[in-house]
Symmetry: C2
Subunit: 237 residues, 2 copies
DNA sequence: GCGTTAACGCAACGAGTGTTGCTTTAGGAT
DNA sequence: ATCCTAAAGCAACACTCGTTGCGTTAACGC
């Protein structure tokens, strides 16, 4: 057990700019902790991210970290929320194939880069553990898919893919195999894999497979929708 | 920290049939612990899987579990190895599209079924934590892809897909979006998603995108291959 | 400047996890 | 039936994590 049973939810977690006393020391502490969190995460990964370690590195007392962030998961959720705010350099190469390939390589970098890889990994693991991190990660990818959708929409405008193609679905198809390799099967994640996934997504989109699901007309045999996902793991207490 | 720094690696972990003293009590203890592990995993998930819980449920002493399995991760690795040994009912519907759809629905069930879902989830999380579990999960999916490859090979024999199509890659494309939804973005995993992923994989395979990578002819700009994957997380000690 | 009070630092506690040395049990061989 | 020894049980320990009550610091308003 890492940070279960927290009686009082961390106040505002991030102690954002709307806080009661945003000035001087508070801000200094917040920045120090945030920086230390990223550093620890990059160096040791999620498993070894400990409140004590972050506190020691940042020069802030353990208690303060627990009170403001509520534990290790809160630290990661905060880091994730900040990461989601940063814009994503969605490529524009002129063709859907080119855009998807560049997109897949962007993801590839995010998974294999010595600096970003551990962070990505840590975020995913944290999401599987804490509902707060899960929400943050969901929002993070929602924003990214939203930005990447532009590439598909351009392709649709050019007539490269049929109207009604679901941008998010295309993006997912292009990047999912990479995550699958990295997190599920533990297979190598390399440029060849990225390029093939992008090309496959492009072909499927072109074939008109990746259209938006019918808005209301429920799929006959379909389950009611989500089955066991967003509130990731449950607690007993 | 869950089960780090184990001075001596657990002897043979599973105490397989080749053990020194496979008879009576030892076997009884092993089965009781294994059963308890699966039950605890299904009920509480990976996060709440504690050696103490398994010991209590199985009626075996904590110390015994620690000595034979080395901790919670070892329990999961053992469970995974056993799961990998079980055959997978790969469908044979007569068409690649049908086979892939059935395959994707199989995976869908594995992710959303109240009994299997928590197990799948637990396995993936464990793999991200412990190298032993990572290896076990890798082998698990290697076996499954191996079995599923038959469906693609049948399709190739029928001429549905070009020769040289990589079966594992087709299977991956068909199921990856589901895992992606479940573990990465936290989006709903339903039959519509499964069917679309299968159809997309089928279309890509038909288009000749998912061919086996050139055996030796290194992809020019390609990285040396694997980058930061199989030995999942490192320890400091 | 000066007072108020939110936020931080400190020390100690409680709980749970993993470890270790020793004793006891029972499988397998003589 | 008896002995030998691998494996399981037992008790106590050490360590880390998260929590709590209280004293101290320093932003912010006047």
């Amino acid at each position: 057990m890492r940070s279960d049973r927290h009686p009082r939810a961390a106040p505002v977690t991030g102690a954002g700019p709307g806080s009661v006393r945003p000035g001087g020391r508070t801000a200094r502490v917040r920045d120090a902790v945030r920086e230390a969190t990223l550093a620890e995460l990059s160096e040791h990964g999620y498993r070894e991210l400990t409140v004590e370690g972050v506190a020691a590195r940042s020069g802030v007392h353990r208690t303060t970290v627990y009170r403001r962030w509520g534990g290790a998961d809160g630290l990661i959720a905060d880091a994730l929320a900040r990461a989601a705010a940063e814009p994503w350099p969605v490529p524009d190469t002129g063709t859907l194939a080119g855009d998807l390939r560049a997109l897949a390589r962007l993801v590839l970098t995010g998974l294999t880069d010595p600096a970003q890889g551990p962070l990505t990994r840590a975020f995913v693991l944290a999401a599987a553990h804490s509902p707060a991190a899960a929400r943050a990660l969901h929002d993070f990818y929602a924003r990214r898919h939203e930005q990447a959708a532009a590439a598909v929409e351009r392709a649709a405008a050019r007539g490269e893919v049929p109207a009604g193609t679901d941008p998010a679905e295309v993006v997912r198809a292009a990047v999912a195999p990479l995550y699958h390799r990295a997190f599920i099967t533990g297979e190598p994640v390399d440029e060849a894999a990225a390029d093939r996934a992008a090309a496959a997504a492009c072909a499927a989109a072109r074939a008109g497979i990746l259209t938006a699901p019918p808005p209301q007309a429920g799929a006959p045999g379909g389950a009611g929708g989500r089955a066991a996902d967003p509130p990731r793991s449950e607690r007993r207490s």
